[in-house]
């Protein structure tokens, strides 16, 4: 139901994002999905990678601020309206979406979701038989 996501603190400096990516490249860590949340002063890079533990270790060694969090992941049927339907279910349960991003992996459409209430979200997923994605499926 959840997969591990890397969060890396990014200072607002030219070339900073690529410094992070270069470290991942050097250690042969593949980026499966990536998104950046930004403010005027700094950002947070969020990424799903092939080996989160190793990524954490090597980024820390290079003095980046990095942590791993568990995050909800769902597989979406490849047809119009799927994502809207999923979000309707969360709204009906009075769950607030903090952020969301989506990507394709092979033939799969995957939705990454962060809500204000993890326990309640899992109940919604189970009750509605939503299909979750496991890390092993992203290798």
């Amino acid at each position: 139901m959840t997969i591990r996501q890397l969060s890396v603190f990014l200072e607002n400096k030219t070339g900073y994002l690529n410094e992070v990516l270069a470290v991942l490249a050097r250690y042969n860590i593949n980026i499966i999905a990536l998104t950046v949340a930004d403010t005027s002063d700094y950002g947070i890079l969020r990424a799903i990678v092939s080996d989160p533990e190793k990524a954490l270790e090597v980024l820390r060694a290079e003095h980046f601020s990095v942590r791993i969090h568990d995050i909800l992941s769902l597989e979406m049927a490849p047809e119009p309206g799927t994502m809207s339907h999923i979000l309707d279910l969360f709204t009906a349960a009075d769950i607030c979406i903090e952020y969301v991003y989506a990507f394709s992996f092979g033939s799969k459409s995957i939705l990454i979701l962060r809500t204000d209430n993890l326990t309640k979200s899992i109940e919604v997923i189970k009750a509605n038989h939503l299909k979750s994605i496991h890390e092993a499926e992203l290798k």
Binding site: S7, F9, T39, H69
Partner: protein
């Protein structure tokens, strides 16, 4: 008054003062006993060098009232300034102290050419800060029509200045510059104003800034010096010749001492400015070291006054900053960060002047355990730090989180402040 007459008056007042503090202030009695100095050793003003110094830390250690030399029933007013560990520095005034304060401020204002025909807009903060009330009483003594508008609210300041026809403005020099620059955008021009004189102080400012203010406002700008520990505004002020500030030395005896050896220095040598409050009753201080850097000049001024002049303050011998008239030690910032314990204590404070108002930005290293996957958590952290700083130091601070280990570590004394305000 001739120099000999002044010295006789100062000697007489110093003897009385030392007797007073030796009997009534435990702190001074102990200091003097430790040094082996008795009140009878003080026979003239020259003997002042035998007396102990007083530092800001002594005021803090005796918080709130232990340095007061009279019972609280004789104290009619208390003022306070921000302190380094959250505790403010407190001072108390007797009825006589308030009368003397009025008197010295009135002298300053008269020296600046202000009279009872003037309308004086006092834009120093009123309250625990000595600026507003200190100037207020002196202005009433002179007989000015006083407008106690206090600080802030630029638009209203300009409106009343125009509507009431204020002829004198009293505030910090940086706020005076800010007001001048705000004229146009608020729909005013110099022609709408009747301002003639500015009485500016509570922060160090240069001669260049004084000339700029005179030009921008078309006024005579005067520097009024003071600090709450000694009295508040009114310790010294410059006359129309602007060749140093005349010290009211019958009340506040000045000395210049070497910053390291604390040996007294002769006229013309720069060092730390030290004051002894010759007439104060509430919280009399012996040789209070202001840590302000200046020089003294005992020559008679072109205006005819014989009182000693101190040079405009050029800097400080410690790391205290003056931000919009508020005293700030970098250690206060550190204290707040350590108390919160949610970031590292590695920080850098950037002081700048934006539109003539001092601004503070704090860059502080993020603690990795506070990093989450949402921006909101980081923003809440910045806001929390900003609130804590604001309530501890009374200044608004922009907080920026930076990567761990990106703030330079120094081997010796840490550099915590970058002051970009124009010199």
């Amino acid at each position: 008054m001739s120099r000999a007459e002044m010295r006789a008056l100062q000697s007489e007042r110093l003897k009385k003062l030392v007797d007073h503090v030796y009997v009534n202030v435990k702190f001074y009695r102990k200091r003097m006993d430790d040094m082996g100095v008795k009140p009878s050793d003080i026979q003239s003003i020259d003997d002042i060098v035998k007396l102990p110094f007083t530092y800001k830390t002594d005021l803090r250690d005796n918080y709130p009232f232990d340095l007061f030399a009279v019972p609280m029933k004789n104290i009619v007013r208390v003022h306070a300034s921000s302190g380094t560990t959250g505790k403010p520095t407190t001072v108390g005034y007797t009825k006589n102290d308030i009368e003397n304060w009025r008197e010295v401020v009135a002298r300053c204002l008269t020296m600046a050419g202000i009279s009872q025909s003037d309308i004086m807009q006092i834009s120093y903060g009123y309250g625990l800060f000595t600026g507003g009330l200190g100037v207020h009483y002196g202005a009433e003594t002179v007989g000015c029509s006083v407008i106690p508008i206090s600080g802030g609210n630029t638009r209203r300041q300009l409106q009343l200045m125009s509507d009431f026809g204020s002829t004198v403005l009293a505030c910090t020099p940086s706020y005076a510059l800010h007001l001048a620059d705000a004229l146009n955008e608020n729909g005013y021009s110099l022609a709408d104003m009747k301002l003639k004189v500015g009485v500016f102080g509570a922060e160090p400012w240069t001669e260049n800034m004084r000339l700029e203010l005179e030009k921008k406002w078309g006024i005579h700008a005067h520097d009024i010096y003071g600090l709450s520990e000694i009295m508040g505004p009114g310790v010294a002020n410059d006359c129309v010749h602007h060749t140093g500030l005349h010290v009211h030395e019958d009340h506040f005896f000045p000395e210049i001492v070497h910053p390291d050896t604390k040996e007294p220095l002769a006229d013309g040598n720069e060092g730390e400015l030290v004051f002894t409050t010759l007439t104060k009753e509430g919280i009399p201080l012996l040789r209070y070291n202001t840590r302000d850097l200046s020089t003294l000049n005992h020559e008679t001024c072109a205006c005819g006054r014989t009182s000693v002049r101190m040079k405009k303050i050029t800097g400080r011998s410690d790391d205290m900053l003056i931000i919009r008239g508020v005293n700030l030690f970098p250690s206060q910032i550190e204290h707040v960060l350590l108390e919160l314990g949610e970031t590292s204590a590695h920080y850098m404070l950037y002081v700048d002047r934006d539109n003539n108002l001092d601004t503070l930005e704090l860059k502080v290293e993020l603690d990795e355990t506070q990093l989450t996957d949402t921006i909101r958590d980081l923003q809440n952290l910045s806001r929390k730090i900003s609130h804590a700083l604001n309530s501890a130091i009374g200044l608004s601070v922009k907080v920026t989180l930076v990567e761990p280990k990106t703030i330079a570590r120094s081997e010796g004394k840490a550099v915590r402040v970058v002051d970009n305000r124009k010199k």
